[in-house]
């Protein structure tokens, strides 16, 4: 399988505080990885570096053959190939769900309005909220909003999807509807990097699980090995806490 994301000795600081320490990570095309770890360990920062919502200071990040550096042309190109879903949904509250989905296809990919709407309807169908298309984000439940956010990202027809704790802000009864959509997406062959503490989801779809602590990757294993025989003490502690 071909490499689609490659991080080499990536380091990042916020001021004096080092958030990422010598991160090395490769993700192959169509692979699904789950990233977990305690709060503040740098998981969000790591995946935000992949589409350059955060800038790294040292090391190399190559996404889909393009190196992330100060060259802004590359950045916009990469961002339209990498979709991202956030903990807080971050839908645009002044636009209807449909407009949320068609905005980037029209303005970034220069599609016609009609084309963009067809595309949006197709993905809204996929996440099962076509009937809500005319509503505004504020009128939807959390679960529906998060599914709309996934549809919005998919409308750019990305090769890679990043998820930053997509279910952490949801009421328990809505978590499943979002995870179902994500499982579907995974089965469809999308490359996915998911920060989550939903270990059920990890066991079901992840090819590899990565455990981070204090800015470093502490453990990285194929899913069943990660759960069945973790080596690192911190991973064991974390798993014992989270699995019950």
């Amino acid at each position: 399988m071909s490499k689609i994301i490659e991080l080499k000795d990536v380091n990042k600081w916020f001021g004096d505080f080092q958030v990422l320490k010598d991160i090395n990570l490769t993700v192959s095309s169509k692979e699904k990885i789950v990233i977990c770890g305690p709060s503040g360990s740098g998981k969000s920062t790591l995946i935000r570096c992949i589409n350059r919502l955060e800038e790294h200071q040292k090391g190399d990040i190559v996404v889909d053959g393009m190196t992330l550096d100060a060259n802004t042309k590359n950045i916009e190109k990469i961002r339209s190939e990498v979709g991202m879903v956030f903990q807080q949904f971050n839908l645009f509250p002044h636009l209807s769900i449909l407009d949320n989905c068609t905005l980037a296809p029209i303005w970034v990919k220069k599609k016609s309005k009609k084309e963009a709407e067809e595309l949006a309807n197709q993905y809204l169908e996929k996440v099962q909220i076509v009937d809500q298309a005319k509503k505004f984000p504020g009128q939807l439940s959390g679960g529906q909003q998060q599914r709309a956010a996934i549809a919005r990202a998919l409308c750019m027809e990305p090769n890679i999807m990043l998820f930053d704790e997509p279910t952490s802000a949801l009421d328990p009864e809505m978590i499943k509807e979002v995870l179902d959509v994500m499982v579907d997406l995974a089965k469809g062959g999308m490359t996915m990097c998911v920060v989550t503490h939903e270990m059920g989801f990890a066991k079901e779809v992840a090819d590899r699980v990565i455990f981070m602590d204090e800015g470093s990757i502490v453990e990285e294993k194929p899913t069943d090995q990660f759960f069945n025989n973790p080596e690192n003490e911190r991973t064991k502690l974390f798993l014992s806490q989270i699995l019950n």
Partner: protein, 347 residues
């Protein structure tokens, strides 16, 4: 019956409320009759000179006789139709805006923002195509008030928005330029700025060029007010959560696209009250152009009251001017409130 219940609950609920209600009613009782007498019952409305005012009340003859000057300044009488025509076109386009389909709406909007300003300036100033030239130094009255306000508002708003964005920019040059610009204009009184525009500005221009005083004044007011708009808009920008920027960036939108399509629509909606406030203040600051020899409504009133044939009628003049200012400011205020409510219901 309903009224009695309502007033029991709202006006006379306890002895403090009752006392307050009675005091206010008493103040009305004491002040309203003399005021009404002065304004209406004892006032003289029609006539040609001060001698016609025989009653104890206001002498509205003054306003009546001078109304043309109050409205148009020293604009030649036989050319006044040009101003009227421009305003009629303006109000017809705005009025019809609310009754036509969205396609024609777009046309009207483009007409008003792109074509109309030039058309209006051509009508007012003339000097070609058979229209007699009317120099700006004879422009005045309410016409000048509106001219200056409308053009300053049109220009200061986009400049203010750009400054607000500039102040939050990551590029140090742009950031510090914006900060410096904003703080400079906010730090000096408008009257000084106007004075500089009239007296100092020509010194900086290459000799031989001559920029019309009215244009200089509009530039001065525009820059001055854009600093205030910038700070109001910055407040709105700050209220937009970081997640909105992240989301916009993550779907491939760059700086301009994310600001124009996502950040500004939300930020500007929040700051409508503050922007309206600034525009109203701008409108009410226009009389200050008196210091550079331009006379809008209040300036004309000032001039008229010193006319030997009309001495002693300052009160009438000022009350009239206040009334006109109030009408315009109150309309602006209501409009902004309407806009706020309209945008609120769409999400």
């Amino acid at each position: 019956m309903k009224f009695i219940n309502w007033s029991k609950q709202n006006l006379f609920a306890n002895w403090k409320d009752s006392l307050l209600t009675i005091t206010i009613l008493y103040l009305f009782y004491v002040s309203m009759p003399p005021l009404l007498n002065w304004v209406f019952l004892d006032a003289t409305f029609f006539g040609d000179s001060k001698k016609d005012c025989t009653g104890d009340g206001a002498c509205w003859v003054f306003v009546n006789v001078w109304i043309k000057r109050f409205t148009y300044g020293m604009y030649p009488n036989d050319q006044i139709w040009r101003i009227n025509l421009a305003f009629v076109i303006f109000f017809i386009s705005i009025g019809s805006y609310f009754f036509v389909s969205s396609k024609i709406k777009k046309c009207i909007f483009i007409f008003l923002t792109v074509i109309f300003p030039f058309l209006a300036i051509f009508l007012f100033h003339g000097g070609s195509l058979g229209l007699e030239e009317v120099e700006t130094r004879v422009w005045g009255g309410l016409f000048l008030t509106l001219f200056i306000s409308v053009f300053s508002i049109i220009f200061c708003f986009p400049i203010g928005v750009l400054l607000a964005m500039g102040r939050r920019s990551n590029l140090p040059v742009i950031k510090y330029f914006s900060i410096g610009f904003i703080e400079l204009w906010r730090g000096v009184p408008l009257i000084t700025v106007l004075f500089m525009a009239a007296v100092m500005f020509p010194v900086f221009l290459p000799s031989g060029t001559n920029l019309d005083k009215l244009i200089r004044v509009i530039i001065a007011i525009t820059l001055f007010e854009s600093a205030y708009i910038a700070e109001v808009v910055r407040g709105g920008l700050q209220a937009i959560p970081r997640g909105q920027y992240d989301a916009a960036n993550s779907i491939g939108m760059g700086y301009w696209k994310s600001h124009l399509l996502i950040i500004l629509p939300q930020a500007l909606k929040i700051v409508i009250p503050g922007v309206a406030n600034t525009f109203i203040a701008l409108f009410k600051d226009t009389p200050l152009i008196l210091v550079v020899g331009l006379m809008e409504l209040l300036g004309m009133v000032n001039m008229a009251k010193t006319n030997p044939a009309w001495l002693g009628l300052a009160t009438e003049g000022y009350v009239f001017a206040a009334f006109v200012y109030f009408i315009f400011c109150f309309s602006m205020s209501r409009y902004s409130l309407g806009l706020e409510n309209k945008l609120k219901t769409t999400n």
